[in-house]
């Protein structure tokens, strides 16, 4: 009896999955960029940049994602008198909802990634700084050539974690009419009145997707450990033979 429900819901959820993954992916990529900028600022010496980063992280961590999403969807366009949608020749390429969702996830994940980046930079052994300084390298040179390669390697697990969190966060975006998985699930449930079966299937769908992501994470982590154990011939060399 409920096999027909699964058959009917599955294509809808797949459609929702496209939006879920798209928004989470774009969100984490740009969130990473923002997070790195903020993380470097927090670690660095420029007091002004540090203050801006603190402020940004404080706001984002201090408000729920659903409030951020509603704010970006309703208030932001009015504030700057723009439409968030991307249109071309009258055709809507990216709707306001989806754009608001991408912005929300970007800003949200960026704040948490900033903390990940900051603590990764912080955790690098101070001796690396000493060695760099003693050789006459500048602060920026040490940061980019020595510290960041070490820190970046360390953050991969935390970064992937944040990606998984962002994938689940997209479910909030149903409130601003983004047709992602939860939205599809809700609409199906409400129009067929099959609430519990529909929500159960939706939950299992999420579980399956996240489980796949967790397996991918394990594979990536294992690959990283392998490359670090091998001798790197001529890797990282500034001098080409």
């Amino acid at each position: 009896m409920n096999l027909s429900l699964i058959a009917a819901m599955f294509p809808l959820l797949l459609k929702g999955l496209q939006y879920t993954i798209l928004i989470a992916l774009i969100g984490i990529v740009f969130g990473f960029i923002i997070g790195c900028l903020a993380g470097f600022a927090l670690q660095g010496k420029n007091k002004f940049l540090k203050a801006i980063s603190y402020f940004y992280i404080w706001i984002i961590r201090g408000t729920p994602l659903i409030v951020q999403a509603l704010y970006i969807y309703f208030v932001l366009p009015k504030l700057f008198d723009i439409s968030l949608a991307i249109t071309h020749n009258g055709e809507i390429l990216v709707s306001e909802s989806v754009m608001a969702g991408i912005i929300a996830i970007t800003i949200n994940s960026g704040a948490f990634i900033a903390e990940i980046v900051r603590s990764a930079l912080e955790s690098v052994d101070k001796g690396q700084w000493d060695a760099g300084k003693s050789l006459g390298l500048s602060y920026t040179q040490i940061l980019f050539h020595i510290i960041i390669p070490i820190a970046l390697r360390n953050i991969t697990p935390a970064l992937f974690n944040q990606f998984i969190i962002s994938v689940k966060d997209t479910s909030i975006l149903t409130i601003i009419v983004v047709p992602e998985i939860t939205h599809q699930m809700q609409n199906y449930a409400i129009t067929t009145f099959k609430t519990i079966p529909a929500y159960t299937f939706g939950a299992l769908f999420y579980l399956a997707i996240i489980s796949i992501l967790m397996i991918v994470q394990k594979i990536i982590e294992r690959k990283l450990k392998l490359t670090s154990q091998n001798s790197m011939k001529r890797g990282n060399s500034l001098v080409k033979d």
């Binding site: 699964i6 129009t191 159960t200």
Partner: protein
């Protein structure tokens, strides 16, 4: 060894999930009673009901200025019914939830009785019972005078697939929009009516289908609104407001539907209903 354990756990979780899917819908047997209707007044004394509303649909059910209490036509009707029939309201509280949640709750029997400008549509009748109609409504299209395309004049125009149509998730408008064939991509389902109204004011959608009384009230009371109604009210046959009663409560009290109907008739006969209408729906 660890791999085998993982596989076992995964299979177990999936199995439980599928089991839940298939086994749901079977409710335990309830003891059935009949309400003594010799005297209508106080005939439901000693019976406690879970009553819910939405608070998202003025003037029938909405939050007052302090934002604390839900008031409106429906709340007054509940009051009168309670005074007449004498039932208790669980926790002395009528929780407010959005249209999707209240429909689901009544379907699942978590809520016994719902009053929230609910339309007694055919689809809903498959999962819940309704009393007699206590208010005739109809659906109407609202547009934004500044941003909506001028071509939107009636329901037919919306079927073309060129315009985005907002509806409240789970409302009669939502189900109706799907029924008459408006394209999925064009239907934007907002969790609550007020959010959809705001979206239309901001020009984020081209139009909004909602119950007539709700739109009228909004237009009358919202200062500086850019919205207006177009076309004639439609779907009246499917938009009578009635009191929703869960299947479960009807199984428990086999004649509760009859009792509520008798009570509604009493309120009409003694002009109480007219008073409520005059108060809220001028």
């Amino acid at each position: 060894m660890k791999k085998i354990l993982t596989i076992i756990i995964v299979v177990a979780v999936l199995a439980i999930g599928i089991f839940a899917l298939t086994k749901l819908g079977n409710k335990e047997n309830v003891e059935a009673t009949t309400i003594n209707t010799e005297k209508l007044e106080g005939c439901m004394e000693g019976i406690t009901l879970n009553v819910a509303t939405t608070g998202t649909f003025a003037p029938f059910t909405y939050y007052d200025e302090n934002g604390k209490d839900v008031i409106g036509f429906d709340l007054d009707v509940i009051n009168e019914l309670q005074k007449l029939l004498g039932f208790e309201i669980a926790n002395n509280e009528i929780p407010a939830m959005n249209a999707a949640t209240i429909t689901a709750s009544i379907t699942e029997g978590k809520v016994d009785m719902g009053l929230a400008a609910l339309c007694a549509t055919d689809e809903r009748k498959q999962v819940m019972n309704f009393s007699d109609t206590y208010y005739e409504a109809g659906l109407i299209i609202a547009v934004n005078k500044e941003t909506s395309p001028k071509e939107i004049k009636s329901l037919e125009d919306l079927k073309s697939g060129k315009y985005t149509v907002a509806v409240e998730t789970g409302s009669a408008s939502h189900l109706y929009a799907k029924e008459i064939g408006i394209k999925e991509d064009c239907i934007k389902t907002y969790n609550e009516g007020p959010i959809a109204f705001t979206a239309l004011e901001d020009g984020k959608v081209d139009c909004f289908i909602q119950d007539g009384p709700g739109v009228s009230y909004y237009l009358k009371t919202k200062a500086d609104t850019k919205l207006a109604m177009v076309g004639e009210p439609f779907n009246q046959e499917e938009s009578p407001y009635a009191i929703a009663l869960s299947f479960d409560i009807c199984k428990k009290y086999t004649n509760i539907q009859e009792v509520i109907n008798l009570a509604l008739k009493e309120l009409t006969d003694n002009k109480k209903k007219k008073k409520i209408e005059a108060k809220w729906c001028k």
